[in-house]
Structures are given as structure tokens and as C-alpha cells.
Amino acid sequence: MSGIFSLRAWEKVWLYRGTFLLGLFNTVRTAVFAILLALALGILFGLMATSGKRALRAVSRVYVELIQNTPVLLQTCFLYYALAFSGHSIGIITTGILALGIYTGAYMAEVVRAGIEAVPKGQFEAAQSQGFSYLEKMYYIILPQSIKIMLPPMVNQVVNLIKNTSCLYIIGGADLISLTYSFVTGENTGGAYAPAYLISGLLFFVICFPLSKTASSWETALKRREQRQVFARKNAGGKEAMADE
């Protein structure tokens, strides 16, 4: 009955399609809020990592290193059980949003830091010399230039986050992976392994693949535009020189 060619197995999956859609809904819901949290944390800690204040840089560094060098599963469990034992049960979905948001936030912070550091020093100085405050400088001058550099790796982090919702399984989540697993091991529904995992995988793929593709095409477009600009500059220089002669 587990066989990929078993018509009955496929029928069973179809019969329980609601389970898969519910899992998908929970996964997407968790992911969306976690992405927003990760973005906020990423921008905050990315800015701190590039600030002139040593203490802020240190705090950002500690956050990034702690999160990047421990398993996300551990972080999820820690958050869930530590909070549960201290009497603050916040629910599985909220735990998932917090855990994945904090986890991905550390990677987002690195993306933001790299994006800011890719902007030439002269841009910071020009903005400062005009009297832009720190936040004005970042908002009007620096971030608009680094956003192009940051977007592709950010989308990749979003894709990772969506896949990482499977961590919720360990705390008894109702995400797509967890529900797929209970489906194939369930007393009444059990057995249809291959079709169930294929469908579950397909659902992930349908969401993640367009995102990855978008990210890589942005990246290509960005490279091409840079080349064009170098070319345009050379041309402008040439023409100017001729006109003056």
C-alpha cells in the first residue's frame, strides 16, 4: 500500500487532502510572520553590526554567533519548553514564529551587514558632510543602494525559513511536514508513504521554486546592470573628451 504505483494509496491522499492543505496553511502562516520578524531583527542587528559604537557591534556579534552556531531544532525546543516550564505557554504556532524568526534573523543580519559594507565609504561621508543624521543617511542614501545587493540572499533565507518550518514537528506542530508525518503513521490513514511525501514535497516546491528563481534572476539582472554602467561611463568619458577638443 505504500507503493508509488498503488492507486489506493493515491486515493487515500486525495481523500485526506484537507490535512495537507491545513499543513500548508499553517506552514505559510508561520513563515509569513517569521519572515517579518526575521527582517526586523536582521535590519536592527545588521545596522548595529555596522555602527560606530563598539558595544552595539558586540551585542550584534553575540546574537549572530550564538544563533548561527547552535541547531535551530535546539533553539525551537529551548524556546518552547523553557517558556512552558516557566508557565508562559505561548502555543506552538507562536513558538514557531519566534524561533524561526530569531534563527533566520541572525542570517538576515549578516546579509544586511554585508549589503551596507558593500556601499563605498564615500557615500557615508557625502551624506554626513551634507548633515544627514545617522538614520536619515541610512534611509535615504545607504539602504537604497544596498537593497539590490541584499535582496537575492534575503530571498534565499526566506526559502530556507519556509523549509525550516519542519522543525515545528519536534514540538508537535501542525505544519505541512508534521501533518504529513502523522498522516503516514496514523492508525487509520497510515501507509501511503510515497504519495504523501511526494505531494508534501510538491507543495513545498511550488512555493519555494519561484522564490529561488526570482532571487537568481534578480542577481543576474544586477550583474548585467553593473556591467552596463561601467560601459556607459567609459562611453561618456570618451565623448566628453572628444567634445572638448
Binding site: 561621508e125 557625502a126 554626513q128 558632510s129 551634507q130 544627514f132 543602494q145 561618456a236 568619458g237
Partner: protein, 268 residues
């Protein structure tokens, strides 16, 4: 190339009241015992300097002597390790730098540093609109005025990367003018340019020099220094070794180092 004959300042932002020699008496920039270290490296060793309203001060000296650092202390791009900097009578501190710099000082850089993600027009209007509370219309009027001054009105909608170095630097000067500050600092504004575009930038600066703007210019262009400077300062090893009028400098400087330096530069 044609430049508009319009006066550089309009809307009566600044009056051109200074007489020929009698520059205004107000001291616009004052550096008092300024020292600057980078780690163990002492880059400025007790620099004292005063620049009067409307004065054109040219700073010369060998590479690494601290010319850029001096100018960058004037707008707090570098914070002095010790000593004081006063702008228009107010001490410049980490706390008031943003406000004081915004109101009083602009800077033109060797590498132009135009904002590449904005059109020329936006480069010129962003500070007036966001920092000086001008309406978009007022700011654009101002921008077109200064584009005329630098002879680049037709580039308003171009992006900086599409322009030649000389054009970018003229835009950068227009951007500085759009802030309508009394002081403009120039750090080697022609050093990154192709030889054939240097003159177009110098021409604009010579025109500015006729106005009552306080200009501090680090440059290796001795012809320019001779033509526009009220006073020349020679720096070496983080100190001011000699200062005087261009005439004094280029005819009989006292200091041997100055003589050597000028000999090298003028011969090359």
C-alpha cells in the same frame, strides 16, 4: 562650454558684501590646538588655523602630511583627538555636528561621491528637501539654477554613472551649492580627473571664488592657488610649516621644505 551669467547666490541667501581686500572680519573656521591620532600614528600635531568669512584658503603639502585630515576635522568627518574646532563662533562637537554641518558647511570630494541611485536632479534636491525643509518646487528651482552655474542643465535627468569625471565633479559642486552654506571644503577636487577635464572644474571653482563663499581648498593645482587664494598654508608631517599670500609663497618662501616642494611640483 557656456556658463550662465546668473549670480551664484539667489533668493538673497547670502549677500556679497565683502569688499576687495577687506574680507569680512567674522572668523568662520577656527582650529585650536587640534591633534589627531590614528592609533599610534600622530597625523595632526597641534594645528592652529583661522579662516575668515569669504576667505579662499588653499592648503598644499606633500602626500600624507595631513591635509585631508585637517579639512575633515573641520566638518567632523574626523573627530579631533584633542583640541577644538569652531564654526561661525560655535564649537563643533559630536553632539551638534549634524546640525552645525548641515547649516554651515558643504564638502566636495576627490571621488565626487554623488549618489549613484539618484538622478542628478535628485542628488541636488535631496538635502534641500529632506534637511532644509524646502518644497520640491523650490528645491528644483534652486537645483536648475546651480546646474546653470556649472553648465550642466541638460544633465538634470541623467544618472551620475553616465557622466564623465569632470561632469560628475561639477555636479558635486552644484550639490554643495544647493545647501547654500557659507563654507565649502574641497579635498583635491581635480586629482581624480583626466587631464583634459581638470580645467572645466577649475573654471567653475574660479567662478565661485568671486563670491563671498568661504572656501578651503586642498589642491596640487598651483596655477589655481596663485589665481584665487587669499592665503596659502603649507603642511608637512601634521603641522603647518608656513603660511602667507600666494605671492609670498611662489616668489620667496622662507622654509626650505616649501622651496623643495614647490620646486618639485612646478617642475613636474
Amino acid at each position: 562650454m557656456r556658463y550662465s551669467e546668473a549670480p551664484i547666490f539667489f533668493h538673497g541667501a547670502l549677500q556679497c558684501a565683502a569688499s576687495v581686500q577687506g574680507k569680512g572680519l567674522a572668523i568662520m573656521i577656527k582650529m585650536e590646538n587640534v591633534c589627531k591620532n590614528f592609533g599610534d600614528l600622530e597625523v595632526l600635531k597641534n594645528v592652529n588655523l583661522e579662516v575668515r568669512e569669504g576667505e579662499k584658503l588653499v592648503i598644499i603639502g606633500p602626500s600624507g602630511s595631513g591635509k585631508s585630515t585637517t579639512v575633515r576635522c573641520m566638518n567632523f568627518l574626523e573627530e579631533p583627538t584633542s583640541g577644538h574646532v569652531y564654526i561661525d563662533g560655535q564649537e563643533l562637537t559630536a553632539k551638534n555636528r549634524t546640525k552645525l554641518v548641515r547649516e554651515s558647511i558643504s564638502m566636495v570630494f576627490q571621488q565626487f561621491n554623488l549618489y549613484p541611485h539618484m538622478t542628478v536632479l535628485r542628488n541636488l534636491t535631496i538635502a534641500p528637501v529632506k534637511l532644509h525643509h524646502k518644497s520640491k518646487k523650490e528645491a528644483e528651482e534652486l537645483a536648475y539654477h546651480y546646474l546653470d552655474v556649472v553648465g550642466l542643465r541638460d544633465k538634470a535627468h541623467a544618472y551620475p554613472t553616465m557622466l564623465s569625471g569632470g561632469q560628475q565633479q561639477r555636479i558635486a559642486i552644484a550639490r554643495a551649492l544647493c545647501s547654500q552654506t557659507k563654507i565649502i571644503l574641497f579635498d583635491e577636487p581635480t586629482s581624480a580627473l583626466d587631464p583634459e577635464t581638470i580645467q572645466e572644474v577649475l573654471d567653475v571653482m574660479i567662478r565661485l571664488a568671486k563670491e563671498n563663499i568661504t572656501m578651503v581648498v586642498v589642491t596640487h593645482e598651483m596655477g589655481f592657488a596663485r589665481q584665487v587664494a587669499d592665503r596659502v598654508v603649507f603642511m608637512a608631517d601634521g603641522q603647518i610649516l608656513e603660511e602667507g599670500t600666494p605671492d609670498h609663497f611662489f616668489t620667496n618662501p622662507e622654509n626650505e621644505r616649501v622651496r623643495q616642494f614647490l620646486g618639485k611640483i612646478i617642475r613636474s
